[in-house]
Amino acid sequence: MTVADRRNRGTILALTGPAYLWLTATIFLPLSAMLYCSFLDKSPLVPQPASLTLRHYAAFIEKPVYQQLMLWSLELGAIVTICCLLIGYPAALALAKVIKGRWREAMFLMVVLPFWSNALVRTFSWTMVLRPGGLADQAIHVVAPGAPALNLLYSYPAVVIGLVHSYLPYMILTCYISLQAIDDSVIEAARSLGARSWALFRRVVFPMSLPGVLAGSALIFVPAVGSFMEPRILGGTKGATLGMAVEEQFTVTANWPFGAALSFLMLGAVLLICLVLYPPARKRMEGL
């Protein structure tokens, strides 16, 4: 190793050290503690010595209700991700390739605005919009006075609406970045070669924006699968998720080890999905 190499290594260490130290301290340590907790037979709050057990993981397999909750959570994550993509991608496309100058800044502000309000306030505000006779109903009655009440609050669509509202900016921003990176001359080349708008989008623009689509999907799918606040506030009994079950174990029944086990099972399921999807996605993005 030359002197320059050694100095280089020192620089890299100095630049990345703080970030990795912080990540180790704030993510790795608590997570390891929680993983250990999931194998204990008593909650760490109980002042008695605890022993190791696999009981909580076995409980997940034995009780179909938790498997059902897991499936519902994954389904909810998928639906929210797809909705964000369907709503967010066209907006990102317009922002990246059509809207220019000041208008783009103004539109961006509107996209980022949800981030500036408190998540809890944001979610509760939806209850006022979606409840029977709420703002949504009133708006519809202005257009169609005879229409039946929507009655969306405490339903599955309400949960999806709340989650999409929370996570849509992630999709718009990641897609925007990858669409923005597509050189206009590449698009012009495709048009000069005879591609109409649809072929241009399907064969050039969309494939080239896949990194943004996947990054946004991952950023949304993972927290949406684990969501518990929106399902509780907007879904009532209709929006049961595994995230809510986890929360319950920690806050209501005080069964920390079982809550921890459930959350690690969820983490495992999400990791497994990512692991399965990664190789084909990587193949499609070769060369980008």
Partner: protein, 355 residues
């Protein structure tokens, strides 16, 4: 093979006039260079022919058909970009096949024509590579194959060789010329490199401020520039101010030069007493250490001498002006700075230009 005719093309962007009444006929099968400084309108014209720019006034005719309302994808043009603009997620073969596939050609035909196109640009064997895995010269060839595989009516090249280093650029110039001849396609290219324009083109047009200053074969434009800008942009030139003193019956005029001495040259019209501007290329001037000033010969003093291998550049003070001349390095050796010299030239090489 098609002719492209542009008539009275005008394009304005807010305060800037990119094209200010351009009329050019691009003949069938010729390689035509659009030359000019940046912002002179040459790229706007190329993009208007492609269909990316809508003209405010004027027409573009391809094969005699007005393509004003025809969208880019339906114009059947081949275009090559300075950045190559290859599709990074597609292999070389997929890049070349793109134009045929969006036209819905059958699979066997696509495969065959992709092979032919890649063979033509000498890239056989690299079909499965991604653009990132190719060198700049190879990417250039893929871009050319992709633009030609659909057998377009006209090939448009935007600064085609601008991104390559000097050696590769010369190699690609030869290659481009060979392929263009082989296919026989009407080709229009934009460049700001005068040497490239002179080497490649059958004909060139010089642009300035959205107008065509001069159009013609490279040698004709070089030897007979019509304006001071054309003479100065394409190669180097000395500009001599003078006043017509007499008109001879043979068509030659005598001009008293501002730097002292007299010259004779052919004028486009003109009368006695009129002031004229004459351009004189540096390589047309003969330098000698003996002789007298007289008709087409002026006395000067060498300011500096730059030796550059095959030739030497002299800067010579003549009156209040500095004249530049190139001298081939035969066997005479160089003349030292400070020497008194006589510069002379032939009447044929003095060209009257408009200021």
């Amino acid at each position: 093979m098609s002719a492209v005719v542009v008539t009275d093309a005008v394009k304005r962007y807010d305060a800037v006039t990119a094209l200010d009444g351009v009329t050019i006929t691009f003949r069938e099968g010729e390689l035509f260079g659009l030359l000019g400084p940046s912002g002179s309108g040459k790229t706007t014209l190329l993009r208007a022919i492609a269909g990316f720019v809508t003209l405010d006034r004027g027409q573009v005719l391809i094969d005699g058909q007005n393509v004003g309302g025809v969208p880019v994808h339906a114009r059947n043009i081949g275009m090559m970009f300075q950045s190559y603009a290859l599709f990074p997620h597609m292999s070389v073969a997929e890049n070349v096949a793109f134009g045929l596939e969006v036209r819905g050609r059958p699979r066997e035909e696509v495969a065959r024509r992709v092979q032919e196109a890649l063979a033509m640009v000498r890239l056989g064997g690299l079909e499965q590579r991604k653009p990132k895995q190719l060198s700049g010269g190879q990417q250039q060839r893929v871009a050319l194959a992709r633009a030609l595989v659909t057998r377009p009516k006209v090939l448009l090249l935007d600064e085609p060789l601008g991104a390559l280093d000097r050696h590769l650029r010369q190699e690609m110039q030869v290659e481009l010329r060979r392929i263009q001849r082989q296919v026989g396609i009407t080709t229009i290219f934009v460049t700001h490199d005068q040497e490239e324009a002179l080497t490649l083109s059958d004909r060139i047009a010089i642009f300035d401020f959205g107008r065509v200053i001069q159009e013609g074969a490279p040698m004709e434009v070089y030897e007979r520039p019509v304006t001071k800008f054309a003479a100065g942009f394409l190669g180097e030139a000395n500009f001599l101010h003078g006043r017509v003193t007499s008109l001879e019956p043979g068509g030659l005029a005598r001009v008293a030069l501002e730097i002292g001495g007299a010259a004779s040259c052919r004028l486009k019209g003109g009368q006695v007493g009129q002031s004229v501007l004459l351009a004189l290329r540096p390589e047309k001037i003969t330098l000698s250490t003996e002789g007298e000033a007289g008709m087409n010969a002026v006395r000067g003093n060498v300011l500096d001498v730059v030796f550059s291998g095959n030739s030497t550049t002299y800067r010579v003070a003549v009156g209040e002006q500095v004249m530049t001349l190139f001298r081939q390095n035969l066997s005479q050796g160089t003349v030292a700075p400070g020497s008194d010299v006589v510069l002379s030239w032939s009447s044929d090489h003095l060209v009257q230009v408009t200021p």
